[in-house]
Structure formats: C-alpha cells, structure tokens
Symmetry: none
Subunit: 415 residues, 2 copies
C-alpha cells in the first residue's frame, strides 16, 4: 500500500511558501499504515500536472493532491482532473447547499454566483464536503488507484483529511502497521554514536531500520518497522530500543513526542517543587522563550533578566564590575556570578546564565566569536562550562540554548 503526495502551485516552486501540507499528510498517512513513496511539487501547468498524475499512478494506490482549487484563473486542478479522467464538470447539489450555508453562517459579502462555480466537480468524483471553505475535496478512482484532491489552505486541508479522507482510506485499503520510535540524544556526534553502537546495529533484525537525524548539538535515532502483526512489530522495536537506550544511557534524554527537553525539565521541577529563573545575555531571550512556549510554567518559572549590554550585568544583577574587569565579561567567574545573583534576585532554586559572543562581530569581550560561558546555580552550588560554538550567530544561540538545558537537567537529576 503506497501513497504519493502531489502539491500544486508556483508559489512553492519559487520559494514564496514552505510546503507544510506534505509533512502533515505524510505523518497522518504513516499513522494508519500507509507508506508515502514520494512527494512531488509541480507548477500550475496542465501538462506538468498530467505528467505527475501519470507517474504517480504507476507506483501508488493512493494519490493525494493539494492546491489549485481556488475560484481564480490560475487554479486549474479541477479541469486537469477532467482531462486525466476523461470526464466533465457538473454541478454538485450538496456542494451548492454547503456553499450557501457558509455564506449564511459567515455573512459573506462575496459574489455568490462566482463561488457557486466551486460546486462544479468532475462527474465521476465523490464530493468531500468542506465546512470551512467553498472548495470541496474530491475522491476519484481509476484502475484501482484512488486520487484525492484537497484545497491547499492548510486549515481546510487538515479538516478534510482527518474527517473525510482517512476514514475512507482505512475502510478501502488493507494496510500493515507502521511503528516508529525515536530516541533523543544530546552531546555526542553521529560518528561517535556509530562507534558506540556498531555491534548492536550490525545485529539489528532485517525488518527494523535505523535512521540518524542530526541537528545542532543533538542526534535523534529512529527505529522503524512495518508489518501486519502490530503487537509483534511494536515489541520488536521496543526491545531493540531498550538495548539502544542502554548503550547510550549517558547521552539519551528520552523519546520523541514523549517529551521535549524543556518538558522533561518542567516535569522534574514540578515534581520536586523547585523553581527556575534565567539570566541570559548572548542567548538573547531564546532560553526563556523556549520555556514560556509551554502552558503551566507559571508554577515553577519565576522570570528572567536580559542584561545584554555589559553594564546591566552590574546594574540589574549586581555582578561586581571589578569581577568583569578582571576576568572579562565572557568568563566562567562572570557566568557563575550571573547565575548566583539571578538565583538570589528571583529567590529561585535554580538559575541559568549565559554570557558569550554570538557574532558575527565581537561584542564587549575579548574572546573569539562563538565563545559562550554557561552557568547553573542550584541549591548545591554553581557549576559552569566554557564552550566554542563556531561563528554563525543563529547556531551559537541555538547550541548554547540546548547546552544550557542539558546542563540544567543534569544538575536537577543530582538532587
């Protein structure tokens, strides 16, 4: 059972928008055991769309097409469907009713007649009712391949996919089960991991595959298996994951979707009834905004300060200016003083501090671009580390943020 996704629109091919629809559809198909063979983005061009349909039909049982369903002249998906299926457009009375209802409900002041053109669909198609927009979805079968057409507006596409498409897919096709489990690791690169797990990887059963997903300062390791016996593949993957987790216990912090690093820290702090504050300089608000994106943080997060320019490290946090003069603003003693003073200011159990040079030009310090000192103050005292995170501003901030959370988590676990 294979699927293909075709997204239509020049705006994708000139980079005006990022195609997020494909990832959403892929994830949902994967959940119900449908493997996506390929994702193809094509232009608003009849020949090109027809070619993509023909290619997709050769290897997929299900082809999901998004985009090109608007009421304007640049939208040609419906007419191209007619060409492909040797069909013609006819007005669908249910869609007419739905459009009229939408106009009543939202009191739209648009020309109704132009929007009623949206009710014309290929005669062989089943209309999939769109309760959030005027363009209906469509379901057409040809020689055992199902073509589904959905609007490109993500919100409308999602509703139609979940409420109309997936239930029909699940009913029509026999699908295996697909199971993935992804381990999150921090602090060791790909090749370091390869070396550690080589024997285990070589002995991995053939029906389980391993993928490495590296990003700044962390590597995700995904195990996947597909089969008809859900229990068997789940157990097989879980068992291998346990072995893998053991091999990497010092760098593994949990599984994807289960909880992000920040969620894990949240859970630990709430469980221990401990609180947190942040004094960030070179990370510029990134650490706090990562924390505050989660609901329910008020119970442990007290607040933060951003003494971006050096003098405010003294003025707001009370870091002695002599200390800064003696050691340099980017130094372990200054990071430690910032964390300790932040902890006192907010009367929190833990405090994170960062001071460094994100670049691309040198800041107030004398150090190399990319140098970052991070400190964690806790009831046990203050620890600190100095890092070199390269010369790209964005990456320095991202790596420093990830590293600060990694250090904080370790400190919390010491208690």
């Amino acid at each position: 059972m294979l699927a293909e996704i075709i997204t239509i629109g020049d705006e994708i091919l000139i980079g005006q928008i990022v195609d997020t629809n494909s990832a959403y559809i892929s994830k949902e198909l994967d959940r119900v055991g449908v493997k996506v063979y390929q994702i193809t983005s094509v232009q608003d061009n009849r020949e090109h769309i027809l070619n993509a349909f023909k290619d997709a039909k050769q290897h997929a049982n299900l082809v999901i097409v998004t985009g090109g369903l608007g009421p304007t002249k640049d939208d040609i998906t419906k007419q191209t469907f007619c060409d492909f299926f040797e069909d013609k457009l006819v007005e669908n009375p249910d869609v007419v009713e739905n459009i009229k209802e939408l106009f009543r409900k939202y009191q739209l002041k648009l020309p109704l007649s132009a929007n009623l053109l949206q009710a014309q669909i290929p005669s062989k198609a089943t209309a999939l009712m769109n309760y959030h927009g005027t363009a209906p979805g469509m379901w057409i079968e040809k020689d055992e391949t199902v073509f589904v057409s959905l609007p490109g507006v993500p919100f409308e596409m999602k509703h139609l996919l979940m409420e109309e498409v997936l239930p029909r897919v699940v009913k029509k096709f026999n699908r295996p089960h697909i199971y993935h489990k992804t381990l999150l690791t921090y602090g060791l690169g790909e090749t370091g991991i390869v070396e550690r797990i080589e024997d285990w990887e070589d002995a991995l059963p053939e029906n389980i595959s391993l993928a490495y997903l590296p990003s700044l300062g962390k590597v995700r390791l995904r195990l996947s298996s597909t089969g008809t016996d859900k229990q068997a593949i789940t157990k097989a993957v879980d068992d291998q994951m346990d072995l893998l987790h053991n091999l990497l216990s010092d760098i593994a912090i949990g599984y994807e979707e289960e909880a992000s690093m920040v969620e894990q820290i949240m859970k630990l702090l709430v469980a221990q009834n401990r609180s947190l504050s942040v004094a960030e300089s070179c990370t510029g608000g990134r650490i706090t905004s990562e924390i505050t994106q989660y609901a329910g943080i008020s119970s442990f997060f007290k607040g933060g300060v951003l003494p971006y320019q050096t003098s405010y490290k003294t003025k707001i946090l009370g870091v002695p200016s002599e200390l800064i003069e003696k050691h340099n603003v980017v130094s372990l003693p200054v990071a430690e003083a910032m964390a300790a003073r932040c902890r006192l200011l907010f009367e929190s159990d833990y405090a994170i501090s960062t001071t460094g040079i994100a670049g691309p030009t040198k800041g107030d310090g004398d150090d190399e671009i990319g140098t970052v000192c991070i400190a964690i103050a806790s009831p046990l005292g203050v620890i600190s580390e100095k890092y070199q995170f390269g010369n790209d501003r964005f990456r320095v901030v991202e790596k420093a943020t990830n590293k600060a959370f990694e250090m904080l988590r370790k400190e919390i676990l010491k208690n």
Copy 2:
C-alpha cells in the same frame, strides 16, 4: 534554464520533518533567474534515487540534491551518485585537510577515521568545501546537466548554496531575469477581488502572470514576469502593479517586504541614534529573541527583563504593588508603568512592555485568556493598547509580539 530539487530522506516521507530546504533553494535560484521545474522528495533507497535522477535529467539543466550525505549506514547518496555516473569514490585531499581543520577548531572528540570517510567523493565530482560540517558538497556534470549534492542540515546547505553553488551557476548558465512583486490585501475574499479586477486581469500582457495566494483573512496577489531585459520586465510588472494597487487601494496594505519588521525598526533606531529595552511578561522572551537574532543590535538594544510572575514586576521594575492591586496585573496602567520603569532602568529612549494571559489557563490576572496589554514608552511619553488575541497560546504570543513591533514602529515614526 530549468532546475529540479531532489530532497532525500525517509524522515520527510513519514512527516517527521518539514522540508524547508527546498523553499530556501527555490527562492535563491529564482533570484538569479533559474526557474525550478519540480521539487521531489524521495526515500533513502537506491532504486528510487536513481529513478529520480533519471527523470530530473530529462527536463532540468541543474539538479540540486540535498540529504543522505552523513557518515552513517542509512546515508547512500554518494554511492548512488557513483552508480548513476559510473564512477567510484576516491579520497579528496582538500576535504581531508578541511575535516582535520574542523576537528582542531572545534576540539571534536569524535573518531577522526570514521569522519575521514566523508572525504571520499566520486572521482568525477568537484568538491565544494563545507567549512561548517564534515560532509562536502559535490558538483558533477553529465551530458550538459549539472548535478549538485548538498548536505541536508539546513545551515550547512545554506552556506554551500550561497558561497559555492550559486556563483558557479551564475557563471555557467545564461539565465533570464525573473521578477515578482506581491501585493498584500486584507479583508476581502478571492472571488470579491476577482470581480473587482476582472477587466484589468483580462487585459494583462501575456508575459505577466497573476497568482492569488489566499490565507486566513488576507489574500496576496503576485505578479511575475521573466525576460532577458531586466529593466523592461521590472517596469512592465511595476506599471501593472500600480494599476492593480489603485483598483484595490481600500484593501491593500503594501507589498511583501524584503526587510522584516524588526529590520525596519533596527534601521530607524540606528539612523536616529536611539536605544531600546524590553520588559515582557506574557510574551515570555519572544520579543527579545526576535530582536537579538539580528547581528549588530548591540548598538541600540540595551537589554530586557522578564518579570513573569507578578511580584517581580514590583521587585525588579519597581511597578508599585498598589497599582497592580488596584487595576489588575493585566491592565493598561500596569503595562504603562512597566514600559516607563523599563525605560528608566535601562536608560533607553524606547521601551516595550507586555502583560497578558497567554493561556490556556488563567494566570495571575482576572482577565479572559488572550487579553494582552502592550505599552510603548518613548521620549514623547507612554502609549498603551489592550487587545484580545484568542485562546491559542502560541498565536497569542505571536500576535502580541507582532503588534508590539507595529506599535513601536509607529511611535518611532512620530519623531
């Protein structure tokens, strides 16, 4: 001159990541006059990758491939390149040197020998030196089609594309100019716009195309033209855009910006030699992290405070507790006091403050979820506004951040 982009990786096809590389590459190619014919995402599978290469070669002069270059067993792009080009891997001494230099610079504690395998590339390929990771880019030509292979890590891909690939593309290929201009409109749906501009659209010259890009509450209208005479196509599109703008003057709010809102504010502040500080509560670091992502902000950005829990609005900023008790923590007087006190604390010309309830549960205030008060303190005094941004935490923070920048920009322009 046509290009195709092929992204390799099962993680894309199971929806584990959104493919943002393709949009970035498309946009940059479009800028230098290269039209992207198609974007294709394929699995980590030899046959599938070979098929995609074969298809792409048929219609594209330039094929850019990303992903599958890691040092682990699931990465097979290089070997597949060898199969496709009937070539074999050889060690490239420049890449060896580069990898050794990276190990020195970042003091990596990874197995060097495993990483040196990264220096093996097809003998017919030109290595594109990657100064940010161990996997080099590659440039291989076959029968007038150029294949370029880039790592999938966005940061490394971007550097290689901008510094190594585009200069070579510009030199090798004759390209036309491509010009787009996009009008932003708010408050009228697609069909309403169609009706208003019908006569103009029918009279649009054949070498100019119009695209409608609808999303919640707004429609973007893009005019595009391609030609060898840059001045001529630019003038033709600009002239038509003036006509279109006139037809839609009541709903048009401007053109899609080259510079972001923050960049516009930066430019204004630097030009006027003014400084900025931020006291954000419900936006939780988002405003400061939006500012600090740009280089060169040290010249005007003094710092910020995040008094997330109510008591720190008093303790750090000195907002009188009686004021909070009297008006509620989410109120215009408290927002105004926060901005004014922040401006004094940092001795800055401007200060932004936010206080509100991001949800999903109520915070310290009595207000509805989504209520946000924003204030701007300036040399002219303090202004403030109260908003209702709905009940989705992420969207509340996003809308409040955008609104704060919009208010700040207006205040700066008053001077």
